[in-house]
Symmetry: C2
Subunit: 107 residues, 2 copies
Amino acid sequence: MIDQDNRSVDGAEAIADFRRQIDGIDARLVHLLAERFRITREVGRFKALKQLPPRDPGREGALLDAVSAMAREQGLQPEIARAVMRLILDEVVRQHHALRTETEQRP
Amino acid sequence: MIDQDNRSVDGAEAIADFRRQIDGIDARLVHLLAERFRITREVGRFKALKQLPPRDPGREGALLDAVSAMAREQGLQPEIARAVMRLILDEVVRQHHALRTETEQRP
């Protein structure tokens, strides 16, 4: 009984400790994402103003390769880093197209 | 001609500067993802050992709500933070199931 209780308390504490670490990481992840999208919005406005194309497939490929390489070095499956980056890039391109349309429609 | 050249050089420099900032953020993002998956692998091993369920829908819902709220506070669309977190959580659950199966198959 005591043994079982102790074991269950240990388990709950261990999980709680892991979760605190994860929560700290998630806060930093969201902070970085917010920062990244602030910059890419600037890029989108700049590109719209200068009539540069909203999408740069060469740059996208380079970014996907870079995160894959960094992931591999750090023991993270490169597919995970690529999937996260692909999701981010798709959203960036969507926003850049929207900014382009907004700029063109301005009187 | 000079004006056009200057403008194009300015544009290239501005884009290059934005990209340097983005590259710095991406390196930090990959680092955090690697760290997060190191911890969740520990959690997965621990859960498999203690025969705890690989998935905790309550915790997943709480994490999605937390990143949405943090995103909103920081001017990031909550849908983006949720989509990134959903992708991460799906992969974590996949890994936890795999660790469970491995542990059970151990002689």
